[in-house]
Symmetry: D2
Subunit: 142 residues, 4 copies
Amino acid sequence: MDIKMTAADMGAFLDKAFEQVKGDFTIEDVAPNTLTVRLNVQDKHLRPGGTVSGPSMFALADVSAYLVTMAMIGPEALAVTTNCSIDFMRKPAAGIDLIAKVRLLKLGRQLSVSDVLIYSEGMEAPVARATLTYAIPPIKST
Amino acid sequence: MDIKMTAADMGAFLDKAFEQVKGDFTIEDVAPNTLTVRLNVQDKHLRPGGTVSGPSMFALADVSAYLVTMAMIGPEALAVTTNCSIDFMRKPAAGIDLIAKVRLLKLGRQLSVSDVLIYSEGMEAPVARATLTYAIPPIKST
Amino acid sequence: MDIKMTAADMGAFLDKAFEQVKGDFTIEDVAPNTLTVRLNVQDKHLRPGGTVSGPSMFALADVSAYLVTMAMIGPEALAVTTNCSIDFMRKPAAGIDLIAKVRLLKLGRQLSVSDVLIYSEGMEAPVARATLTYAIPPIKST
Amino acid sequence: MDIKMTAADMGAFLDKAFEQVKGDFTIEDVAPNTLTVRLNVQDKHLRPGGTVSGPSMFALADVSAYLVTMAMIGPEALAVTTNCSIDFMRKPAAGIDLIAKVRLLKLGRQLSVSDVLIYSEGMEAPVARATLTYAIPPIKST
């Protein structure tokens, strides 16, 4: 299955569709069923001690799973998250960008399932992992 | 087991310890093993169409599970989230505050487990549910 | 919404549709969006020390979420589990039946979401909790 | 970190410690932080149509996460599952053994976190994925 959006397409789509998170994420790399997304860590993402907050890691996992689904079906679909399980395994390094690597494990007609590993940039051990399910709305026949 | 913090204690503790979310949450009610927390919905919490974002609902669930643990063990502990599973079941009503009702299901020496239901204020059907595990650091003997 | 199956209907349906688990489960009580199911604990459900195994608790949560969905939509649907998150919080009492109390939190056209608490019979604190999502196949128009 | 148990050690350990599942699982391969486990599919694992049941897949994920933790810390520890999230993505092929590939993502003093992909033998797309947390009891000093 071919990719229906490039990294540049996705960046433009994000900026337009989600104004509230403009500038937060950069699409680093895209290939069939896989994607790399950077969280450009800013003050609003931090907790005392400079570590990235849980909600910021959730947001990174969520946008990564969304984009890897969009990459395969195209930007027209109004997919919504139905479920996420996330494990926080290590404290992120202070003030360092986070890198999410996402794999699309299933793309069905109604659901997509993706697996995400999140790293502090340059570190080998992941700081978090997540699995997300997106519900894909039925395609209207025309 | 008695409560070790009042709603006012928790509000003051949140404001002091987590500057980045100052004003986001109000503790509505506290009783043994249960707590009600309001997300004071602001523009930064929204998505196009006025619905509250997934990361904002995650943040509400996370802070609620944290506070219900703190209520029982006191504010000195450095508990950290280790796991969350969250289900997004309905679209939140546009521009309406969210109310989280959290129950502490287990308080062990190493782990707490809490269950959260999130509602758009005034609605009967929950918009989301979550379960969170917090790791409680060992108490230093003196 | 009315119940479409009685406890007796469900028992008969289980015995017929799932021969491998015949006699394992008893439907104790049914009401709109809620159900109580007993695991008739037998040697095959145990681990050394007499405690009920994790897979047996998973099976109880799974069948409970399935039946509460069936209760509302009727037995004709071929619903399948798509996701489960389960927390094991306490060791079950040795050789005691388990009681699952399940609530249907959402019944959509495509998905149901249910929440389960599992108790050793007669104990106040739950031994496990689980949330399950079932995919409901599209109803064929006739 | 070196492996503290071989595949043969693990097989013998399973047979001795968990009589109820004797013969169900075969350790195919072990390396640091990774393990391959086979479910020897038998009639008791099946549902109508010949597909492997959800509880059997859960049991395979659970034993795999347990063994990959044991492989690294040795068989003396009484680790217990505290959490599992599992996604059922495709129907397993009828009557075919399942193969679980598990990775240990974190081995802390108190918790291990493992990620499991389950395949029908010989198929490319996974039928299920799971993440499991084990609590590791404190080591008694002597």
